[in-house]
Structures are given as C-alpha cells and as structure tokens.
C-alpha cells in the first residue's frame, strides 16, 4: 500500500522476477489516491516473508515508503455444507453518516449473505453503496427487500435489491442464459 504514483507495480514485480517468482493472481485498486495491491506469487525455492518484504520496500519508487505484508498462501478450504446461492446487487443511496455500512452488513451477515464486492462513494450530494452479494436460495427476495427497506427508512437511505442479471443484460453483449 502507498500513495499512488507511477512505478509501484514495476518495482514490486521487479523484485518477484529477480527472485525467479511468478505472479499467479493479482488485484489492485486506487481509493482516495491510495494504491492497494494484493498478489498471489509462487517461487521455485523457499523465500522468507521478511526477506521479500524488505526487498520490495527497498525498491520502492521515489515518493514515499511502501507498506508491505507477506504471508504463506494457503488455498481456502471449500465451505462446509455449501448452500446454493444467487447473485444480487444491493444499492443504497442517502446522506453519509457513521455506521451505515455496518448496519447493512450486520443484517446481511445475520442472513448468511456473503458480500463479494462492496463499493461506497460520493454520488453528487449523496453517498452510494453498491454491494454484490450471494443470497442463499432459501430466502424469499420480497422478504429481504422489506427488511432492507425498513433499515433504509430508519437510516434515510433509499435501498434496492435486484438480481445481477439485469445489470449483465443492460451492460454486456451477451444476454444472461443466451438466446434460446
């Protein structure tokens, strides 16, 4: 993590190449001018986490230090008793105030709903939350909608829950499920 500037990706990947490593997966984002990157890396030989962190920090491009953490990668175990889910998108629009994300996420956690992507930012005068979630099929969407409406009403947020296919259909070339 670091203040965003040119050269960070090159510096990090340069250290990995120098150690003979390979980047297996990578995701990065910039939020509020702050750069964050997470990588899964494999090396042909054992590499000490501390050594890897020190090398990356030493190679940081000009403009400030990099905050780096490294730990051994262990693939997550398949969830026990995995329940079938469907993907929905929850959006909430309203005035920013502390605790709103917690309020919604607490409700979702209580329903065993997994948040797979979360975004929260200013949209004009309002703040907007978009959460892509996996909802167990056992829940009736109308009931969840009523609950979320109630929370939204209490927090003065306008909340919507919609199946993700409507967003796929209106933005991507292929229709969900294809043309039958």
């Amino acid at each position: 993590m670091a203040d965003d500037r040119p050269g960070i990706v090159a510096a990090v990947s340069g250290v990995i190449v120098a150690l003979g490593g390979n980047i297996d997966a990578c995701s990065q984002t910039v939020l509020g001018g702050y750069f964050t990157q997470i990588l899964v890396v494999s090396f042909p030989q054992t590499v000490a986490a501390q050594d890897l962190v020190a090398r990356i920090q030493k190679g940081a491009p000009p403009g400030g230090a990099l905050q780096v953490a490294a730990c051994p990668y262990v693939a997550p175990a398949a969830p026990v008793g995995h329940v079938p889910t469907e993907r929905f998108v929850i959006t909430a629009l309203g005035k920013d105030k502390p605790g709103v994300i917690h309020r919604f996420s607490q409700y979702l956690a209580g329903k065993d709903i997994n948040v797979v992507d979360l975004y929260w930012d200013c949209a004009g005068e309002d703040f907007v939350l978009t959460a892509q979630v996996e909802i167990p099929k056992r829940w009736e969407i109308g009931m969840l909608k009523a609950d979320l409406d109630e929370i939204g009403h209490e927090e003065s947020f306008n909340v919507r829950i919609q199946h993700e296919n409507i967003f796929v259909a209106t933005n991507q070339l292929r229709l969900p499920g294809g043309h039958r």
Partner: protein, 457 residues
C-alpha cells in the same frame, strides 16, 4: 464481476429515468373455442383464458420485483374474434365481448385485444358481425380492445371497409358520448397489421403464431431523452450521427430489459417467448415523451420543418440498437406518436405547431400512425374515412404498418381541450382542413389495388 459504473448507470436508467416494461402481453389462440352454441363458445373461452392467463399477473409481478423493474401492464391478445363468430350474429358478438371482459377482469389483466377482423380484401359474414357490433361492444365493455385491418401491401386498400369505419367511428363516439367518445380509443384501424404486436389497442394473436406466446413492449422515451441530454451536456463537436449512436446504445439497453423479463415470464408460464417490440411508447407523464426527444434533438416546436427527419433518425436508431440486443424483435418496433398520450405532442398540437398534415408526414417514418387524435364531433363520416385512407396508403405503398386511432369527440369543436384520463392523457381537438371535400372519392368504394412491387421511387 460487474463494474460499479455499470451498476450505477443501470440504476439511473431504471429508477431516475423511470424505465419500465410497458406491457407483457400473452398472445393466445382461441380458435378451438368455436362452437355452434354461443353459450358453449363463451364457456370454453372463459375456461381457456383462466387456465392460460390466470397466473400472468402474479408471475409478472414476482419477476418484476426480482429485477426491480415494474411491469406496468399485463395484457391478453386473442386470435381474431371474427373466427369465433362464424355462423353467429350480433347477440353472440356482445356475449363473447362480455365474456372476454369478465374473464380478463377475473385474472386482473388490464386489457384484452383481438376483437378483430381482417378485411383488407373483403368482408366475410363473421367480419361484418364484428364491424356491426363495435359501437355496442366498445361502449359496454371496459377492457376489450378492437382492431380492423383494412389494407395490406398485397391486397391494397379495401375502401368499402374504410368507408364503413368512418361511420362506425362516429357511432362508437356517439355511444360513448358521456366519456367524450372514449370508446374510439379502444379501436385501431390498420394497414399491414402485425400478428405479434403487444401494444393496445391494436394487439391480436395472428394466424401464423403458436398456440400461445409471450410478447413484450418496452418503454423508454424518458431514458432516450436523458441519454441525449447527457451527451449534449458533455459538449464538444457533436453531429446528428453522434446522437443517433447514443439513441442506438440506449435502445440496446432498454431492449435487453424487455428480453430478460419476457424470457423469464415465458419460461415460468411454460409458454414460448415471442418477441420484444422496440417501440418507444410515451405516456402523458412529463419526461416520458417522444415529443421531448424531438425538442432535445433541436426541434424547438414539434411539428416544425425537420420534425419528420428527426423522427426518421430516432426510429432507425431505435431499430438498430434493439435488433442487436435481441434476436426476437417484432411487433411495430419504432416510435409511437400518440398525440393525447404524449405531453409534448399534445402541447404542440394545442399551440398549433403540430397539424394533422404534419403528423401524417411523420407517420411515414415512425412505427404507427395517426394515433390518439381528437377531432371535431361533427366531422363527416366520409372525411374520417378519407383520413383513414390516406394513412392506409402510406402503409401500403411503403410496405409498413400504419394505424389510425381517431376520436371524433361528440359536441367538441376545434381547440376544445379533452381529458381522457390515465395513460390516455388529454388532447386539444385538431382542425381538419377541407373537411367534406373528399366525399365523392370515398363514395366510389371498391378496392384501391395493391401497389406494384418494383419501380420503387
């Protein structure tokens, strides 16, 4: 994973710009309800409608809720009622119409179309029963809609039928005088009637269709207008080609909404998915108007020179975007310009910017025709027939669908303001220049022959 900007732009389209699915229309063949006894016809008809359409509203509401999109209207379109009336008379027509009215009401379906006859080449005995019954049917039922096809590019224009329709419109208007002639709003006179049109009042289930089909009508004038405004606000060098591109992209997205909902409703009901009709269907609500799109495109007064070109560009771009979004495009698919149902068009007509002649010109490049136009109640039947004939000629010569939905308002004069209410909106009674001056032409009757299909110029 979806991108946040994709999610937000869809949310904007669905909620801020009020995109809805304007109609889910179940097309249903009811020819197997024919019987020698009219009581039998009505019993079979009611049973079939309840059996096939009983879950339509509930299914649409549930799927609309899943995607966060309202399905505004749920409708039924049957195969032409004329088929059921073979061997029957006026009493049977009324009984069947009331059965339809009651059955769809029981299913909470908004409207039922298909009280129809196809008379482009001639009028059969059962067609004649339909025509004769229209004033009583449309004045004594709430939800029954009718359509009469009087012309086609293969048959030409049946001027005998056209002439009759002039008389019939006046009779319907008189029968519904207390509602300012509103019965006429439930009747469309067509050339080249589409067999899979989901929009009312002109929907019917064609002979070439399956036993049943789910057809979808999307909306979207507000979404298209907002997209154009945003594009113009961005500034920079901008041509009509750029604006056409913006309409095309928006039409793609709007069509996809209809396709998604339609396929899911069809799958749930176990009925084949038919088509998505791409037509931009306005409502009297401000911000849901084809006229406003024309204003955004730079036509300050709708009806001014340039209006026809703007409608042509709009219609074409809508078709291009929609055709890429769906492999099942059908119905009328263009832009509707129903005067009373579109606030900006109604305003332009009231101010005299938009005349009947200019509307007629615009219909040569849009998808329907002279739609929801209030005219003086004392307009001669032959003149109404001549207006119908003109509009049919545009359809026949250009191998396209055109329709006429005129409302001769009893007792009303040019400039009177007429409120129809709800989705039907309000309109100012329009002037018909040279009324009465084409009576001799209409009285010749017969059939205007089908046009030559080559030497097209």
């Amino acid at each position: 994973m979806l991108r946040t900007d994709e999610i937000l732009s869809t949310i904007q389209m669905l909620h801020a710009e009020h995109l809805d699915v304007r109609t889910v229309t179940l097309g249903l063949n009811v020819n197997d309800c024919a019987a020698s006894s009219v009581d039998s016809v009505c019993r079979k008809l009611r049973e079939k409608i309840i059996r096939r359409a009983g879950n339509l509203v509930r299914t649409c509401d549930r799927i609309g809720s899943k995607y966060g999109i309202p399905v505004t209207n749920k409708r039924l379109a049957i195969s032409p009622a004329a088929h059921l009336l073979a061997g029957h008379g006026l009493g049977a027509a009324l009984q069947i119409a009331h059965t339809l009215d009651d059955a769809v009401k029981e299913c909470q379906i908004d409207l039922v179309g298909g009280f129809s006859a196809l008379v482009q080449k001639g009028i059969s005995a059962s067609d004649a029963v339909v025509l004769e019954s229209l004033p009583q049917v449309l004045s004594s039922t709430q939800r029954v809609c009718a359509s009469i096809n009087v012309a086609s590019h293969r048959a030409g224009i049946n001027m005998d039928a056209v002439r009759q329709m002039g008389d019939i419109l006046l009779k319907i208007a008189a029968a519904t005088a207390a509602q300012r002639g509103f019965g006429c709003a439930k009747l469309v006179i067509f050339s080249n009637i589409p067999e899979d049109n989901p929009f009312m009042a002109g929907a019917y289930h064609g002979e070439g269709e399956a036993e049943a089909a789910i057809n979808i009508g999307v909306s979207g004038p507000g979404v298209v207008d907002s997209a154009l405004r945003r594009r113009i606000q961005l500034g920079g060098p901008l041509t009509l080609g750029d604006l056409a591109e913006e309409i095309k992209i928006t039409s793609f997205r709007v069509t996809r909404v209809g396709e998604l909902i339609g396929r899911e409703v069809a799958a749930e009901l176990g009925i084949p998915f038919g088509i998505v009709d791409l037509s931009l269907a306005p409502t009297p609500q401000v911000g849901d108007s084809v006229g406003e799109i024309l204003r955004t495109l730079g036509i300050e007064k709708v009806g001014a020179p340039g209006s026809t070109a703007a409608v042509a560009m709009l219609t074409d771009a809508v078709k291009k975007g929609g055709a890429f979004a769906s492999s099942s495009v059908g119905g009328m698919s263009g832009a509707f310009i129903p005067v009373s149902e579109d606030a900006a068009l109604a305003d332009a007509a009231a101010k005299g910017h938009l005349t009947l002649e200019k509307l007629e010109a615009m219909t040569s490049v849009c998808s329907v025709g002279l739609d929801m136009i209030a005219i003086p109640g004392d307009t001669p039947a032959e003149t109404i027939a001549a207006i119908i004939a003109d509009e049919m000629a545009i359809g026949v010569m250009n191998n396209k669908t055109t329709g006429v939905r005129l409302i001769p308002v009893p007792g009303a004069k040019v400039g009177d303001f007429i409120e129809f209410g709800g989705l039907f909106g309000s309109a100012t009674v329009m002037d018909i220049r040279n009324a009465g001056a084409s009576a001799a032409f209409v009285r010749f009757g017969g059939r205007i022959p089908a046009p030559i299909q080559s030497l097209r110029n």
